[in-house]
């Protein structure tokens, strides 16, 4: 047994733009333990719900995270709609699904780029982000924003996408699909990549469940849990199966994300074919009644939980967001011991950490 050293990792680290701090306990080059600390960007957005009425709060909740901003808005609206017992029009449900899946596509491509950057594939990183730009252009064209869309509202959505635009989106996405297919071969087949990711940071099936892992981290360990299977928005009418990989290592988690890009694109094609005509929003009357509501959604990073408590006024008593990264920190602590110091950045990346999300 060697001498133990403690190496601080983060909050500023080249591989992560996010302020995650880990105290790594090392024995020679092997990590034997890790203590996380977060709280560098705590903003207390949840508390703001007491000062902003429930219509305005959508725009605050969207700003919890830049990458999954649409699904935060959707989740908030869905929770408040559940609390008030509002049924939104079918077209709005499909539009939300399309935007949510586009978010997943651009989030996963972004992550693939960051992953490539983490093991030193700079030009692959550039290519991933070049492809992602096409998805962002679709967002700007349809919602008006590249990152923050402000298109969800309690009772539906603000903007409609006409059917011609939807068809054009599909042709753009077919292009994206072709390019991602070429790029994904590097992640799946490249020898160097496999050397860095195979067998690193293994999370077993039982550990993933017990530690509360969510999203691709959970599905990479062979657990077929996907909140979209709850059938919220239009997911109940679309045909898909959760993507599962057995190994539970970094390679499996990468593979899950690569395959989810194609799954999301397929879901968008399905939704575009099935989208009905009609209204995009219902009128919302009155305030949220006294009561509580919990809803669970699937974000690119995993399951997200919203809890809302109303009191009959236009201000909610409490709104709680449990973001996916918060749940994935405990599995990360389990994965770290036993790996090399050089693998820590890649391990931290495979849970797709979003610390600003986590601390809200």
């Amino acid at each position: 047994m060697g001498e133990r050293t403690i190496i601080p990792f983060g909050p500023q680290h080249p591989v992560l733009p996010e302020p995650l701090h880990l105290d790594l306990i090392l024995e020679d080059e092997k990590v034997v333990g890790a203590v996380p600390s977060i709280g560098f960007v705590h903003r207390g957005l949840e508390k703001l719900v007491e000062k902003r009425d429930f219509h305005e709060m959508v725009y605050v909740i969207e700003r919890v995270c830049g990458i999954c901003s649409f699904i935060h808005g959707q989740g908030y609206c869905q929770t408040v709609e559940g609390l008030m017992g509002i049924e939104i029009p079918e077209r709005a449900k499909y539009l939300r699904t399309i935007w949510a899946e586009l978010s997943r596509v651009h989030s996963h491509i972004l992550w693939l780029g960051l992953m490539a950057d983490a093991y030193g594939f700079e030009s692959l990183f550039m290519h991933c982000w070049r492809v992602r730009e096409k998805v962002l252009d679709i967002f700007e064209e349809t919602t008006g924003g590249r990152v923050i869309f402000s298109v969800c509202r309690v009772g539906g959505v603000w903007k409609d996408i006409d059917n011609d635009t939807l068809k054009r989106i599909v042709t753009v996405l077919k292009d994206v699909e072709k390019e991602i297919k070429e790029l994904s071969d590097v992640f799946i087949k490249d020898y160097t990549v496999q050397k860095r990711t195979r067998g690193v940071g293994v999370l077993t099936y039982q550990e993933a469940i017990d530690l509360g892992a969510v999203g691709p981290t959970l599905r990479g360990s062979g657990v077929p849990m996907d909140m979209r299977k709850l059938g919220y928005a239009a997911y109940g009418e679309l045909d898909f199966e959760p993507i599962v990989e057995k190994d539970g290592d970094c390679y499996a988690r990468t593979l899950v994300r690569v395959r989810e890009v194609f799954q999301s694109l397929d879901l968008i094609y399905q939704a575009v074919n099935k989208i009905p005509d009609g209204e995009i929003a219902t009128k919302v009357r009155g305030n949220p009644p006294a009561g509580e509501f919990i809803s669970r959604l699937e974000q690119p990073r995993g399951q997200v939980i919203y809890y809302a408590k109303g009191n009959g006024t236009k201000y909610l008593d409490r709104f709680r967001v449990r973001t996916p990264t918060f749940a994935n920190i405990a599995p990360l602590l389990k994965m770290l011991p036993g790996s090399d110091l050089a693998d820590v950045p890649i391990l931290a990346l495979t849970i797709d950490p979003c610390i600003s999300c986590t601390e809200r």
Binding site: E56, Y59, H127, E140, E141, G144, G145, S150, D185
Partner: protein, 127 residues
């Protein structure tokens, strides 16, 4: 097969158009939907102050007696909510973003309504 893919990519990179734009020379084209900044058509505004009260960021200030409508461009998050709540459709979202500023005093845009209008309104109300 792998060689074909990389060969194609190299050819595209060498002879194709770059993916980025030469920014100061080529200006970015915005979409009609792009939310750049909030503009107010002051002739339509009746200074009800609804936009200011509903603004999630507290960026808009309206004063009825002074006929003043004021927006803090650096506070505004361009969420479009004021445009949607405006009863007289005076507010709109302009496609172009606020130009960057070096001086903080330029962040506030103030618009004043015409002085004659209150007289007209009063006449109408009396009549």
């Amino acid at each position: 097969m792998g060689f074909n893919v990389i060969g194609k990519t190299i050819m595209k990179s060498l002879f194709g158009k770059p993916a980025t734009a030469m920014y100061p020379i080529v200006k970015n084209e915005f979409y009609p939907n792009t939310r750049g900044r909030i503009e107010n058509d002051i002739t339509l505004c009746n200074y009800c102050g609804l936009c200011g009260r509903r603004c999630p960021a507290g960026a808009i200030e309206v004063s009825k007696p002074e006929k003043k409508w004021e927006i803090d461009r650096t506070r505004c998050i361009v969420c479009n909510f004021c445009v949607q709540v405006c009863a007289r459709n005076a507010l709109s979202t302009e496609r172009h973003y606020t130009t960057p500023m070096t001086d903080k005093s330029k962040r506030i845009t103030t618009l004043y309504g015409e002085k004659e209008e209150p007289v007209k309104e009063k006449v109408q109300e009396n009549a």
